[in-house]
Symmetry: C2
Subunit: 278 residues, 2 copies
């Protein structure tokens, strides 16, 4: 047992977190419902040895944990408002790690105007964090996955290649909001282009053809097609509609969920938490 940590208590850490937010301290966070908006809820795990390693700076782990859920809000064209951060600590984490984790998370929270509204604290064999983000979007306007139609152009919001080639996650909130009323379907690339495009096509009942993939500096085509956590948006729009994005292909006729790269069938190889187990 870490000596420094033996002096902690759950209540002491909660007291510390309350300095970040006036919403912490009761059994629930209480928040006025926004008028004329739909609420958005997104939740993402960040688990040691699955989503991050011990060697990664704790600030980056915290920043990324929140960014993952913010990216889901971006994918719906929404604006994030609040987050709930549940954190189970492991034996190896001391107060320094925890402080740095929250510092990194709060930095992203401030940048994207997302208030810490609560969470839970516990312990586990490995660090497990679950971040929920609550956001909103104009009523009936949320971007969905199931609206892609034959002939639509397929876009991404930026260059691809996976998070290893990007210093800090940048959830595409501004880009998502600008797609409201324009994109026919939208999602974020969290498990790799090949797997996520398959999901979009399955939901929309269409097939897709990728013609070109914009690469992040130093990323390979393989990474751009299959690596996870790009934090870019993948979306479709009718050919004549003007949207900000990089065209990568087209929605084509074919079996629902089928994806092609330059004429050849592309097997999805993105991250599946039950198949890709170490």
């Amino acid at each position: 047992v870490n000596d420094a940590r033996a002096e902690w208590s759950e209540d002491a850490l909660v007291a510390k977190l309350r300095r970040y937010s006036t919403l912490i301290g009761d059994d629930c966070a209480v928040i006025a419902a926004p008028r004329g908006r739909d609420l958005l809820y997104s939740t993402d795990f960040s688990i040691e040895s699955v989503h991050f390693s011990r060697e990664m700076p704790a600030q980056a782990v915290g920043a990324r944990a929140l960014a993952r859920s913010l990216s889901d809000i971006a994918a719906m064209g929404g604006t994030p408002r609040y987050c709930l951060v549940s954190l189970a600590l492991a034996e190896w984490t001391g107060p320094q790690w925890v402080n740095a984790f929250y510092a990194g998370l709060m930095r992203v929270a401030r940048r994207y105007k997302t208030e810490l509204a609560g969470g839970d604290l516990s312990h586990a064999a490995q660090v497990v964090c679950d971040v929920v983000v609550c956001g909103d979007v104009p009523q009936g306007k949320a971007l969905r996955r199931d609206g892609a139609r034959l002939g639509d152009v397929l876009y991404v919001s930026g260059r691809l290649g996976g998070w290893r080639h990007r210093p800090m996650p940048r959830p595409r909130l501004e880009a998502g909001r600008k797609l409201i009323g324009k994109a026919t379907a939208c999602m974020d690339i969290s498990d790799g282009l090949s797997l996520d495009l398959q999901r979009l096509c399955t939901a929309s009942g269409v097939a897709a053809e990728i013609e070109r993939v914009p690469l992040l500096k130093s990323a390979s085509l393989e990474e751009a097609l299959h690596a996870g956590e790009d934090y870019e948006l993948l979306f479709t729009a009718p050919a004549r509609r003007r949207v900000a994005g990089i065209a990568i292909g087209r929605i084509v006729a074919g079996k629902a969920g089928a994806v092609f790269y330059r004429g050849e069938p592309l097997e999805p190889q993105g991250y599946d938490h039950f198949r890709n187990r170490s």
Copy 2:
């Protein structure tokens, strides 16, 4: 690796869960904001070896995981609406365990009219579940912890002794709603009466005197004072106000957070996730 599980995929399990709810499938759940209500958010971990053991029936684990968060909604006088269930599976869990887990959880969800709205799936060394419940309450009426006043009577909503003496968790949602406009402070007993009463007193800036404790059949006084997860509400109301509950003591003058049992100082011994580590 479990053979049966090797045939699973994340998408296959998500497809299964979509049968429980039409809100699953996009990056976020989309929900119309209720008018004239405040939103409530509560989140609770259920972790193997911390909150439950492998030997416990998976149905009970699922039921309890949701009930923990529902109890927080009850403590605020709220009505639950939606839940997000994030689940990290361990090597030892097969499809049978997962199916039973969701069956138990959904049974509680249906009983308390809480719709499954999403979640995340992953894997970890031990099973980790994080359940968020979204509820609502009439605007400005949520029950809080910080309103207890000198002379108020201290109540619990039922007999105490910890969850071991209770077959199934019963979040006190009806009792909580009836306390709106009547209770001056309210919370649920999740970490034991002694620790949770200290928290209520600290938030309210008062002290409390326990005079008697109603025991669950076969529970000891020690368990009723210190055992966790009672799922009962702890609340205060002015002496002349009629409320449904069992009076157990009174708010008294003294240092903020001080708790007495029949005149003697009562040391909080409830569960603290950083102190009570195995």
